[in-house]
Symmetry: C2
């Protein structure tokens, strides 16, 4: 396993598999090439024998310089539950802490129960949304009509 | 007419009209709330009598600090050809020049002939793509499968 910063060339390798990784959900619209060009210092990929098995795209906020924002994280379906996501998050935490961040923010879709559980497990708190569904705080229409999201935050210690 | 920096509250106002502004093209997936939270200093809206008639989302690249990247620009259909887009671009040029940028980059969809013409008119050059269609350089699958783009760049003088 090798972890390194993303490059623009990684984009083509990731975008061609991403909808499959999400079980057919249309995720590729959310992941534009710009993220692989302009935020390389705080974004990471993990390769195993030359294949990308995970990646994280994040950046320090330009408006809120103490906030690190994680935009997108993907793990190959065959490499899940092996700790790779945690390794990527920790690499991001360490890097943005060096850059002055004190807090991490990210969001996920309410249908992604695995993602909600993962974020809680690694110490994220769920922020207040606009409604509660089965005890889960959800921010309705957060990313446009019908695009509800769960909002996470974590203080860096 | 009043121009100011974007706020997060502008997101809801913009996202609810954006597909209409584009004549029904599904643009809202490209414009996520994160851009209205983390890049406020270099993003602008123009209001007229309390209505948003135009906006620009852009930021200095974190990887390439001399490059300012314009992600998204929208003008209300009833306010087109009145120079508002040029006003927004010039505000962005001025702001990122202060921040040390020497070059601007942005992209558009090849179907958006008005956008291609506009960028040429205000001094952008079209970068080499992967193919040429009717004399226009197009980068195929730039933002994922089927998402061809025209790439622009402009040196700030």
């Amino acid at each position: 396993m090798e972890m390194r910063n993303v490059t623009e060339a990684d984009y083509v390798r990731v975008i061609s598999v991403i909808d499959d990784w999400w079980g057919g959900r249309m995720m590729s619209d959310l992941l534009q090439r710009l993220f692989f060009i302009h935020f390389q210092e705080t974004s990471f990929v993990i390769e195993e024998k030359g294949t990308i098995i995970g990646f994280l795209i994040g950046f320090p906020s330009q408006t809120l310089p103490k906030v690190g924002y994680i935009h997108f994280v993907g793990i190959h379906p065959k490499a899940r539950k092996e700790g790779y996501a945690r390794i990527l998050y920790e690499a991001f935490f360490e890097k943005v802490r060096e850059l002055g961040c004190e807090k991490i923010e990210c969001i996920t879709s309410p249908v992604n129960k695995g993602s909600v559980a993962f974020h809680k497990r690694i110490g994220f708190k769920i922020k207040r949304g606009t409604t509660s569904v089965n005890g889960l705080q959800i921010y309705q229409n957060y990313d446009g009509p019908g695009k509800d999201r769960v909002l996470f935050e974590k203080e860096l210690s």
